[in-house]
């Protein structure tokens, strides 16, 4: 009799536990559905408010679909608010939620959409990084690299075998060129700032060439940046320049011209009949007072132009 009482009690307890669990699960499911419906109607803010407060409750902590929906909502909010920057909160939240959803597991359809969403978010970082390079301002390199870093991390999480070295190399080249453009702009800058910009340009081209030693544009642009810096130094000579300063400036310029020669020759080796490199070599040798070599490149240019 006593054993039977215990069994009934156990049975009732089990019923309570099971029904509580079912209710909890149903309740959880309903929050997800509600958020989904709100999302479908375009009210992403309300969708977020419906799901976010309960997401960390026990009922949802292991619910992959809930995290997936939350991630998707954050992604849409990121788009609609127009937020930007490597620390844009909605985008970061979207990634966190989607990554958690993928860890927890989802049905194949949700998983495919989650991958698409992550892919989009990843590319949005890349797009922003490139946008900042195109409208480059001095001092924005760290943010550009942070954006690119997030892009790279996401891409690697989606496809760990993907080779991102060419893209990183491209980014470095663009950064080099962006810095070089600043040097050529007429905005007033202190000599210390100009020196830092020049050094940064050379550093970025160096990084680009480490990633891709055969990058023609990086080789050519590096050579041009070095050469043009030498020319800028020469142009600063005026009637107040002493003989000593003239000699010193000339030494600095020749050093830059000599440094420019190697990447220009490397670019030329890749595309031997390209006129811009032939012209570059002709000009460099002329600046280095190497008339015979300069004349030889001039003759090659004339021959190519004559054959056209």
């Amino acid at each position: 009799m006593s054993a039977m009482k215990i069994d009934i009690r156990s049975f009732l307890l089990a019923c309570v536990v099971v029904s509580a669990s079912l209710c909890s699960s149903l309740w959880a499911q309903s929050e997800v559905d509600r958020a989904t419906e709100l999302g479908r109607s375009g009210d992403w803010t309300a969708a977020k408010q419906a799901l976010r407060p309960v997401l960390n409750t026990p009922a949802y902590q292991t619910n992959g679909r809930a995290w997936f929906v939350m991630g998707f909502i954050h992604k849409e909010l990121h788009k609609s608010t127009g937020e930007f920057g490597s620390d844009a909160p909605e985008r970061l939240e979207a990634i966190t939620c989607l990554q958690r959803a993928m860890q927890l597991g989802m049905n194949p359809t949700d998983r495919a959409v989650a991958v698409e969403a992550m892919d989009f978010l990843s590319r949005s970082y890349f797009r922003e990084a490139i946008g900042m390079v195109e409208g480059f301002t001095w001092g924005s390199t760290d943010e550009i690299q942070a954006l690119y870093g997030r892009y790279e991390a996401l891409e690697m999480s989606l496809n760990p075998t993907k080779d991102l070295a060419p893209q990183r190399s491209d980014l470095s080249r663009y950064l080099g060129q962006a810095h070089a453009m600043l040097l050529e702009s007429e905005s007033p800058r202190s000599s210390a700032e100009l020196k830092a910009i020049f050094e940064a340009a050379i550093g970025h081209y160096g990084d680009a060439l480490k990633g891709n030693p055969n990058d023609y544009a990086a080789q050519y642009n590096l050579a041009i940046t070095l050469y043009n810096e030498g020319v800028r130094k020469l142009k600063r000579i005026n009637h107040e320049t002493s003989m000593f300063e003239l000699m010193e400036i000339q030494d600095g310029c020749i050093d830059l011209f000599e440094r420019a020669l190697s990447p220009m020759q490397a670019a030329h080796a890749q595309q031997p009949n390209r006129l811009e490199t032939l012209k570059g070599l002709m000009t460099l040798h002329y600046a280095l007072s190497q008339k015979t070599a300069s004349d030889a490149y001039r003759a090659q240019i004339e021959q190519i132009l004559g054959n056209r």
Partner: protein, 237 residues
């Protein structure tokens, strides 16, 4: 891989922001070509999926027909261009400053230290332009500096007295110029391997890729030209 222009990309694709993000990718492989649906996504609904597939197929078809690869970052970027070479004449910039110092740091007989100080350039319009641009309004001592440019030696004959002549002739031609001014305190400057042998008083030479100069100070003294110590100290010979 063919690169697209921004306009081609714009006209080929819809304006979905997600698509734009894809266009920003620098190196899509063919396998990675995907087209995102513009507008609202449906959390995996069949409508959404079929629409996506259809749009993807159309976009892929357009790409194939046009014979173009998937748009890349470079296609939209100003960075497709290589940098621009500064075409300034570097040797002339350096020489111009040397010539200014030669004019300013040497001494002419007193009767030639009145009126304008004339510096003539024969046959190097680039050097003449740089000198005129940078130094024409300057003075040499109490004399105003005049920069004169001549196409050839013949046109110099009708010119008034010049204190400095720079020419790039060599050999017998240079010697003829030197002979024509042998009795006058004219500082003849050349840029020739045989410059000093053929009558130039200062000759530009190349030393370790740098522009330097050599001086025939004895000949200068014969013409009553006093070469300044600063000029002498930097001469290679």
């Amino acid at each position: 891989m063919n690169r697209l222009t921004s306009k081609q990309i714009q006209s080929m694709h819809a304006v979905s922001d997600e698509l734009s993000a894809r266009q920003a990718s620098p190196s899509f492989s063919t396998r990675e070509r995907k087209v995102m649906v513009r507008g609202k996504e449906r959390f995996g609904s069949s409508t959404w999926k079929s629409s996506r597939v259809a749009r993807g197929f159309i976009a892929a078809l357009i790409c194939c027909i046009c014979g173009i690869d998937v748009p890349t970052l470079e296609a939209q970027s100003q960075f497709t261009q290589t940098s621009t070479l500064d075409e300034s004449d570097t040797r002339s910039i350096t020489k111009a400053n040397f010539l200014f110092h030669f004019a300013a740091s040497n001494e002419w007989p007193s009767e030639f230290m009145e009126g304008p100080f004339r510096l003539a350039i024969i046959g190097n319009p680039s050097l003449h332009a740089i000198l005129s641009d940078k130094y024409a309004m300057k003075s040499i001592g109490l004399q105003s500096l005049e920069i004169l440019g001549f196409e050839d030696v013949a046109s110099l004959e009708s010119a008034p007295f010049v204190h400095v002549i720079y020419c790039e002739e060599s050999g017998a031609k240079l010697q003829r110029i030197a002979d024509a001014i042998s009795n006058a305190p004219v500082l003849l400057i050349s840029d020739a391997s045989d410059g000093l042998q053929n009558g130039a008083l200062i000759n530009f030479v190349s030393v370790n890729n740098r522009i330097r100069y050599e001086i025939n100070s004895e000949e200068a003294a014969k013409r009553d030209l006093l070469i300044g110590n600063r000029i002498l100290s930097w001469a290679v010979k």
